[in-house]
Symmetry: C2
Subunit: 373 residues, 2 copies
């Protein structure tokens, strides 16, 4: 079967497992490794799509759970799909809604059929199943749809994780069977298995058997220590086939992106850059800047002296601090633009470094300048 | 004395007092009549300066009271002035702070010296005088500085208004005497006189004697009925000299702009377009659109079918409604951009209509399409 989305491996780093590739999608070719800005409710918060394109964002992530509840996937379908609805003509990846409904805690109940939950908006009752998640994602028309899975919590005992990953595999088959639009949308599977090596291997084998165009490593960055996360990531990435895209979900701090790339991951997403921006924090080449701090009051230099983004070209820290203290919308706009630019350019530099076989050197330089994460 | 800002009359309408002119300032020439978007705290809320320039905004207004309290005028001076601080290289007009401190009610006390008040931010005590207002506006570096005046409330008895306007005249002289930067900044006087014809005339004579490059009509749109406002505006405009710019303060609904232009006013400002935008209301060629209304849920047409703004070119009412309901920042960004574009283009059309001697025809067409204001 021909997939709508395909991965092309271009070059491998000789010293690490880092790899330079391309993801071909119905909405353009994506150079990997790539960071995907998150547009939860059909908008990357405080950003015009044109600004995202200008900075070189290639693909964004949007959330099935949020769009299902508001404005509703049938409305988005009537609007001509999510690309048209939100004025974004590059690629879109949608998650399955699984992670959000599992996060609802007491408001949800899991069965073999799916997850029953109450809306965080109005308390209304809903049921999300593998079929329903596919129906919603088909209506949204994303280029990459994620399988409906259970992300086991941390810590979780072996029995729970094994049981959960087996159900996740059964749910993946139901997703694949129900998927209505193979020509234009591709389904990615999600590996689970918690912090257990053999379960990660078992999960990987089961999902790889289904011959999907890409696979995510799920269930990481859920509260476990960084060492453990890197240990699991280390072997998990190797369980996945080299000719398919690999996606590490929900990861967006610079160090995790480097560590992921080093282990052969191609795709990342996280709300972090835009969320901390709205809280007044910027990522810069010399580490984090908390803009409300008094020391920036009369600092007329740019946020990051090494940055060419719109914000750094035109505004001072003193002005950004003023906007933040005055609760001005422009504060969120300018800091979001800077933080996204920072990660997008960092990934561009990573790709270039891999091409030139100096990924480790670039990583070391970056870490040295950035300081503690 | 050569003024930094000068008014040039280009053409008069033959059927009304509407006039087409130019305001020459150190930051460019402004075609009049003109609407000035308001950037209270050194930012036109939810707008990048580039978007304002793209739509044709020629001059913005910023508030002395707000910038004095936060971030402080000395900080803005150190930053190189307000133009540089906020990344706006076109003209800026600053108000005097008078209107804001008078609006503080119990928090302020008026004497001949000036106004003692408490900050709305932290309750700290301050004194604003004609000299202090000039000092602040000199530090901000605006092209046009407004005189420190008292805007009498409505209703107010004749004695109060007379006493107040005479003090306003004395304050204006103090402003002129204290003004430190005549070569680069021009001081505009403000006419007061409440709803009393003879007091308006008295005020006008006194301020015109000072030979300033422009005059504002103050003390209107403060709660009086529309009929009365138009009656006072009618004779007030005529008391001002034809070779100087005329500015009607705080007015921004389409009908008041038309009525003002018809009576020979050149400049207008108001927070209305951006404020109602943040509350989800758009001004369109067919009247107001309250975007949260259920009838727009599946309305995939643009906000205004006759508008070429960024928002109308790229987004549907259904999407804008979704953003507003989801409390997304992009909602304020897109509606603010539309509303400002709407007024800026309306003023462009008014200028063209005056040039072609069909102002009244354009006004009638506009009113017919817009419906009730």
């Amino acid at each position: 079967m021909k997939h709508a989305v395909t991965y092309e491996l271009i070059k491998k780093d000789t010293k690490t497992r880092a790899r330079r590739g391309r993801l071909h999608t119905p909405h353009g070719t994506i150079e990997t490794p790539v960071f995907m800005p998150v547009g939860t409710a059909g908008t990357v918060k405080a950003m015009k799509p044109e600004s995202l394109k200008e900075m070189g964002a290639q693909i964004i992530l949007s959330n099935t759970y949020h769009l299902y509840l508001r404005p509703g996937h049938e409305l988005v379908r009537e609007a001509g799909g999510l690309h048209k609805f939100m004025n974004w003509d590059r690629a879109i990846l949608t998650d399955s809604g699984g992670f959000q409904v599992f996060s609802l805690g007491d408001l949800r109940k899991i069965t073999e059929e799916g997850v029953k939950f109450r809306s965080h908006i109005d308390g209304s009752s809903h049921m999300l199943t593998p079929e329903k998640s596919m129906e919603i994602q088909n209506a949204l028309g994303s280029d990459i749809m994620m399988a409906f899975d259970e992300c086991a919590p941390y810590p979780a005992d072996r029995d729970y994780v094994k049981h959960s990953l087996e159900r996740t595999t059964r749910w993946l088959k139901r997703c694949k069977d129900y998927h209505q639009n193979m020509e234009n949308q591709s389904l990615f599977g999600i590996m689970q298995g918690g912090m257990y090596r053999d379960l990660r291997e078992e999960s990987a084998k089961a999902i790889v058997d289904l011959d999907l165009p890409g696979y995510a490593i799920g269930g990481l960055s859920v509260g476990e220590p960084k060492d453990l996360m890197l240990e699991v990531l280390d072997y998990s990435a190797d369980f996945l086939p080299a000719d398919k895209a690999r996606y590490l979900m929900g990861v967006g701090t610079p160090d995790y992106l480097f560590e992921g790339v080093e282990r052969g991951v191609d795709m990342f997403d996280c709300v972090l850059p835009t969320r901390i921006a709205r809280n007044g924090t910027a990522m810069t080449s010399r580490g984090k800047v908390v803009i409300k701090n008094a020391k920036y009051q009369k600092d007329f230099s740019p946020l990051d002296p090494n940055c060419d983004c719109y914000t750094c070209r035109n505004y001072s820290r003193a002005y950004l601090r003023h906007l933040f203290k005055a609760n001005e919308i422009l504060s969120s706009m300018l800091l979001s633009e800077h933080n996204l630019y920072f990660l997008v350019k960092m990934m561009e530099n990573i790709r270039k470094a891999i091409e030139e076989d100096r990924f480790t050197e670039y990583k070391n330089e970056f870490y040295e300048a950035y300081g503690p994460f």
